[in-house]
Symmetry: C2
Subunit: 161 residues, 2 copies
């Protein structure tokens, strides 16, 4: 089996991983957030082979994470932009950045996040959108949802002792 | 270059990706949250080759995401458990689950998250840990932190139009 094919796993995490394609593709999403939008600019920034980049872009486009837009007809030129689905990956990127700043930055954070209006640095945390209480693995319970095909096979609940 | 070697990139996201190893490894972290702890149980659940699983576990152990614990001396048997650093990946997993529930579950969420105390489903959102305002890509600004070696080379700010 292909190691990056998670589709056989009935798990939303596996589906998310499958949809994004691979770790590496998140760097493309990051670059699009930075406004790096053309094939050549992405290639220069990421320093990877053209065929590999082309394959990743095609996958992200097929999954609806980004869209290709013609910005010049003769000669035909395209740029890439995040869709709503792609922009919705921002919290994923941010939680990874926060994790790295905490655990993989012995010399201090490389990048800090601030409110656009100025002021203090942001250390994002996850809260329940409804009651605004913090969401911690010790305080949540998972249950099978309406999309579960074999609810009895889900290895719930979380046990992290 | 190895596609999964991000260490040349001065970016906390790249460091996080490098530390976790690859997408696929998050499924190991998920299984440890579920209490699946031995090599054979992990192998059974993930359905992958022993040598591949061994390599991933070794990498996660080297990066301090999990630790190996002897639970039986004769014959020697080990289990795996998340460290504090590993458990701190929970928000990453949760934001990916939420993303998949929103975008990759046409038949409804496979798994729903609830408060352990019961009550309503949780749709996690990111807020600033200090002022509790929502953290949205339109409302944040990135700046070089103390760990940036070449601050002038960072492609800030975010531009997502």
């Amino acid at each position: 089996m292909r190691l990056d094919d998670f589709s056989h796993l009935e798990c939303p995490l596996a589906r998310a991983l499958d949809a994004v394609g691979e770790w590496w593709s998140l760097l493309i999403v990051r670059d699009l957030f930075y406004g790096i939008r053309t094939f050549d600019a992405l290639r220069d920034d990421l320093g990877i082979a053209r065929n590999v980049l082309a394959k990743r872009l095609k996958k992200l486009e097929a999954k609806g994470v980004l869209e290709k837009r013609e910005y010049q007809p003769h000669p035909r030129r395209y740029s890439y932009g995040l869709t709503k689905k792609g922009k919705d990956l921002f919290p994923v990127i941010l939680t990874l950045v926060e994790w790295a700043n905490r655990w993989e930055a012995p010399e201090g954070p490389i990048i800090e996040i601030e409110h656009a209006s100025g002021g203090h640095a942001i250390h994002p945390e996850l809260v329940c959108g409804e009651c605004k209480r913090a969401v911690d693995y010790k305080q949540v319970r998972l249950k099978a949802g309406p999309g579960a095909q074999r609810p009895e096979a889900l290895p719930l609940p979380l046990r992290t002792k």
